[in-house]
Symmetry: none
Subunit: 232 residues, 2 copies
DNA sequence: TAACGGATGTTAAATTACGTTAAACCCTCT
DNA sequence: AGAGGGTTTAACGTAATTTAACATCCGTTA
């Protein structure tokens, strides 16, 4: 799937670079520009899904750039980064068609959440749920969403608890899944009886995985369990 | 054209009334609720274009209400009014799908500009209202408004309850629809008998969806149900 | 190293939740 | 009052999960 394209316009080289790096790490296609003029030119050259722009910049300020962009394009969302918290400025920004603004200093996480809030509204279907991903466990293909464990033409339907536990084990393959952690994650709390219930499910999972000799759920005494995937 | 419908949730009667009056003067249809519980109930009863909610409220706080609303509806924008300027709070709000927040004290004008900013962004897709839009569920096209479930040339006419339940499942596809949540949203409260009634409707829906092998309503023991759309 | 106590392995029974069908109950319309 | 569609209740069957029981393992200590 194609990534979202962001146009970041920020004259402070340090902040600009950090911002771009961070957003690229989050899998966005990021174009970084130094001022409003450069930003506007970039916008005319290529399509962008979102513009993030500083307000105070040399050559051409953010609001001016935004108003020019709006003449070309009424829809692309614009987020302003502004050190000025004065009301007049923010209001002027909204009049030009800004969609949000973030006051410096801001946390990257907050900005990301605002970006996501905007994208959720505009392109809501793109969020490819992490839930629907398959695990490969030895000869098996495990889908926690569908709760299916597939080995060739044999499909086992797992129960809710079996599936949750296997998912945790798979996520921590070759590493200890702490008993207490799993109990809290699946059962909500840890008591003696929950703990015994978990042991029962470990037995069930072992039975499911038996067809693959290279798979083993071992107990780590006093700690928890470990799903071992041997290299064949 | 029909006016925009706003749901305002604010426990302070003075602020709430002033807000409602002001927004009505600006030609919005405004429904005012006193707390999150009342607000959520109002949301289940009618369609709203935007929710404006306080965060700190008796009975049910704004974030909790927002997360419940999000389960019903992923798109309706939510603006929070918050006296707390703590970062954790705002971030928690955005995670739940808030679209903006305004820190008290705020000017009515600023709030109005933010409302307009959101509507400018979303009004294009509001022409085909959430309500009139069809769900695509596997090989079916489902219209909750018409209560029709179409598969090629076969059109099933669903009853009210069937339709409401299928809508909730479709909105939470590949995710658990909590039993208690659905009971409150459809039946108004949850009792043992309502719960069994819901089971009966699940059976009916399974029968409707049977023609598509890639669709399945599975039970999540003790939690609720999940509509699985398998990747074909 | 023998022995002890706590932790785990496994199976089966008990409990609770769900699946399904059909009958009973309500409405509304006539 | 009767018919009909929609919804709830009842009844019985099945599945998921927890609890119980007993065997075995593990680390520690005498």
């Amino acid at each position: 799937m194609q990534n979202f394209r962001l146009l970041v316009v920020e004259d402070d080289p340090n902040l600009g670079t950090i911002l771009a790096e961070y957003l690229r790490a989050k899998d966005y296609d990021v174009k970084l520009c130094q001022d409003g003029e450069e930003g506007f030119n970039a916008f005319t050259k290529k399509e962008y899904d979102l513009v993030i722009s500083d307000v105070m910049m040399p050559k051409k300020d953010g609001f001016t750039m935004a108003s020019e962009i709006r003449k070309l394009n009424k829809k692309t969302p614009i987020i302003f980064l502004t050190a000025k918290s004065m009301k007049e400025d923010t209001i002027e920004g909204f009049k030009l068609g800004a969609d949000d603004y973030v006051t410096k200093p801001f946390s990257m996480e907050e900005l990301l959440l605002r970006i996501n809030a905007i994208f959720r509204r505009t392109k809501s279907e793109m969020i490819d749920n992490e839930n629907t991903k398959d695990f490969t466990i030895g000869i098996f293909s495990f889908n926690p969403n569908e709760r299916t464990l597939i080995n060739g033409d044999i499909t086992e339907k797992l129960t809710s608890k079996e599936s949750q536990l296997l998912k945790l084990l798979a996520q921590n393959r070759n590493d200890v899944l702490e008993r207490e952690f799993a109990l809290k994650a699946i059962w909500g709390d840890d008591s003696y009886f929950n703990s015994r219930s978990m042991d029962v499910y470990i037995t069930k999972l072992r039975k499911y995985l038996r067809p693959d000799e290279n798979l083993e759920i071992i107990n780590v005494h006093g700690k928890g369990f470990k799903l071992i995937v041997k290299k064949s």
